[in-house]
Symmetry: C2
Subunit: 162 residues, 2 copies
Amino acid sequence: MEETKERMIVVAVDESEESMEALSWSLDNLFPYGSNNTLILLYVKPPLPVYSSLDAAGFIVTGDPVAALKKYEYELVESVMARSRTVYQDYESDINIERRIGRGDAKEVICKAVEKLRANMLVMGTHDYGFFKRALLGSVSEYCAKRVKCPVIIVKKQPEDN
Amino acid sequence: MEETKERMIVVAVDESEESMEALSWSLDNLFPYGSNNTLILLYVKPPLPVYSSLDAAGFIVTGDPVAALKKYEYELVESVMARSRTVYQDYESDINIERRIGRGDAKEVICKAVEKLRANMLVMGTHDYGFFKRALLGSVSEYCAKRVKCPVIIVKKQPEDN
């Protein structure tokens, strides 16, 4: 009986509705009253493209595309975290929540973060597409489910009445 | 806040250590004190082979291979359920546990059972083999994770000290 054992639960969040569903599911099911579990919101930014300050014709680019991209990214991160907040704010008083931002190939960054944090669970949303798309999509959750050592929870967007 | 909502949690069990790990994980994490959750132990027997009462040389086979196989299967089911019992008996007083036995291709039977029972979660163990075997094994959990609509939890055998 280890009711009071603290668990570290990583929930991978991104711009998708599915990841918010995963967050909501986690709060409903993995944070019973009185638990000391910690929820880590993990967001992974895509790798930065390499920019040259010269454009294709050899002219110096006015403005700073890297700075513009970083600003856009910052806003994207804030937007995802704000959406997450609307999901968890009803629970917030009881739950330890941390934010982590990574950069790179999402599936690899998630696996590495789970290992580095020695997380006890990884929760991810996934798509529920038809037969043809299934082979291509949902690949991040599949990749992580195979590679991380801790239990992986794959949450699909549920019908509204469920 | 839906603390008292009853959830139906299917745990697929078989002869493997991994499935017992999945059962143990479920009890630790999905059955907080006071929950009304129901745990369904699902065991799938393989399809029965078609037997003829004549052997290859045309002689009538003495004894009844189907009866012998059924007896063997019965013992196998009882053995898996007995192992499950040693895992859940410490929790039993608080948890509703049901046993379900299916027959057929495990991955298909599990998916159908989850749908028919309108389960809220499916928990499965999986193997953690090296790179080469990974592509072949763990296929039941992968198949089910793609097809069932409810959240799927994939549990790997943890190191002893975890």
